[in-house]
Symmetry: C2
Subunit: 324 residues, 2 copies
């Protein structure tokens, strides 16, 4: 396969040439704005990767890569309304810069555009690609719903938490790789393995996000540390801490999170102290390693060049340790 | 083709057997609720009709019919949030019964489900069906955006208004018929004609809706008369009236619509008086007839059985005159 630098470069050229329709501009300006914020474009990169690994023609998979990025950005747009998030990638979110109606409708349009891009795929692989894509789209919605449900649940158990991040984050990573492999004509076994690789990588990736939000270094993480604690988010760290806490610790954790009489800094400090006593950082790192190792096992079993495995392992490593 | 009664009956059986996934229930309950309110299911009926007219196998088009109904209901769900509409089909809207986040996310899920149903189509026709469907989905969003733009525009010109209802309403009617014809294997000419038939019928249908909102009989229309006037909606009637009004009439119309010192009943009465002076009811009826005649001309040119044309003409007639 080509190097990741080559694929990334190709992707940059692709997105630089994507022309978003211009009228009505109230609808398409927010879409162009969202795409211009770009982010890391990991998912379309994985689409190209899945195709390239199995010797597929990259030019045939471009529309799928664009479609996946549009879909991902659509989910962020709507999630930001639901979470009332004011900032995304350092800029105003669409519902903040325009309003909620604009964010709803331009999000819907991005979803339609995503599927429209995918529909341009060659007919031989379209049915399978579309089935995987639409099932994944539905699962991502389910994941977001479970995540919202957690807000009003005091007790969230670990298997429920893992299911949520699997649906909300991991399946789209897995789907991206698999769609590339489908277009390249990989066989059923290989498609299964690359999907499992992506799913485990996605789980590790999300758990790392949870970890960095509390234990990361602010200048590397790019967000304020402790945001999840202030927002009382049910992260892996929180769920695990409640599982391990004795009655007193449990009560303390719940009190810290819900009190109004502590400054945010004090709140974050207290919760982190408790997490340290319960070894949450180490446990989370071990969990991340567990999923990462599973991903690498899947990779080992894949029927692709040894050199390509090495390249992909390096990429996965950079993805996971980039913020430490 | 089969009779419309037969098709309607088939459709009822299809929808009675549609099983919506159940977990997470916060996501799927609103979808089941929306589908149970059912409405008239005109669009899926037109999918079956388009297929039946060209001798297609109805069982092959069922998933498309379900997909189109899911898509249509998704647009209603999101439109109701944007319009802050409390009631739909005599029941609480989803964002009212649950909340806006639920309505956003279960709407998104319906869109994903719609495409998932369509993806089950046989591979030979899937690419074409998907292209028409996704383009239409995008156009419907554009129509809704133009409609929202009108709210803050004082001057809306007739061609802009017609473009809006073409995108928001007519293209989905046209698309439904065309998708059925695609699955049945109709040729390019026929697909063009049935699309044009649907588009003109859709325009007539929407203009009639505008007319009935102001000049209909309440017990037949099923909604309160004058709702558009109270909501200051830029309907065909309003746009046409402003086009024909002299300066004094124009000023009066704008004053009636925006004043806070008139009761709703008085407002409706005054605006209707002005519309009568300007012959708006007659002009709108003539416009409806114009589009209806165009639709019938397309129908005449279609290469289908004379008896079927008669059946379809009867159906179109019932659709258009049902509320008078």
């Amino acid at each position: 396969m080509h190097s990741f630098d080559y694929l990334q470069e190709k992707l940059n050229r692709i997105f630089a040439s994507v022309k978003i329709i211009s009228e009505p501009k109230e609808l398409y300006d927010p879409i162009a704005y969202t795409l211009s914020l770009s982010g890391k474009r990991i998912r379309p990169l994985l689409v190209l990767t899945g195709c390239d690994l199995y010797g597929g023609d990259l030019d045939k998979v471009i529309n799928v890569a664009i479609g996946i990025e549009l879909f991902h950005n659509f989910t962020l747009l709507h999630d930001d309304i639901m979470d009332q998030a004011p900032i995304r990638r350092g800029k105003d979110t669409v519902h903040k810069k325009w309003n909620a109606n604009v964010a709803i409708l331009s999000g819907d349009t991005m979803f339609a555009l995503a599927t429209e891009y995918i529909s341009h795929l060659q007919a031989t692989v379209l049915p399978e690609v579309l089935k995987v894509f639409t099932m994944t789209a539905r699962q991502v919605c389910e994941g977001q719903q479970y995540d919202m449900n957690f807000e009003s649940q005091e007790n969230v158990f670990l298997p429920d938490y893992i299911r949520m991040i699997r649906l909300k984050t991991a399946v789209l990573i897995a789907c991206s790789l698999k769609l590339g492999a489908i277009v390249a004509g990989a066989n059923a076994e290989e498609k299964k393995k690359i999907y499992a690789f992506g799913e485990n990588l996605g789980l590790a990736f999300q758990l790392q996000d949870d970890l960095l939000d509390t234990f990361g270094e602010e200048n590397k993480f790019g967000k304020e540390i402790g945001g999840d604690i202030i927002a009382k988010k049910k992260t892996f760290l929180y769920v695990k801490a409640l599982e391990l806490a004795n009655d007193m610790q449990r009560e303390a954790l719940l009190r810290y999170l819900s009190t109004l009489s502590m400054t945010p800094d004090a709140k974050i400090r207290r919760v982190k102290e408790l997490y340290r006593i319960l070894h949450i950082e180490e446990i989370t790192k071990a969990e991340i390693s567990g999923y990462f190792d599973k991903a690498l096992q899947c990779l080992d079993q894949m029927d692709v060049e040894q050199n390509d495995k090495k390249e992909l392992r390096g990429f996965a490593n950079r993805l996971l340790i980039r913020e430490y």
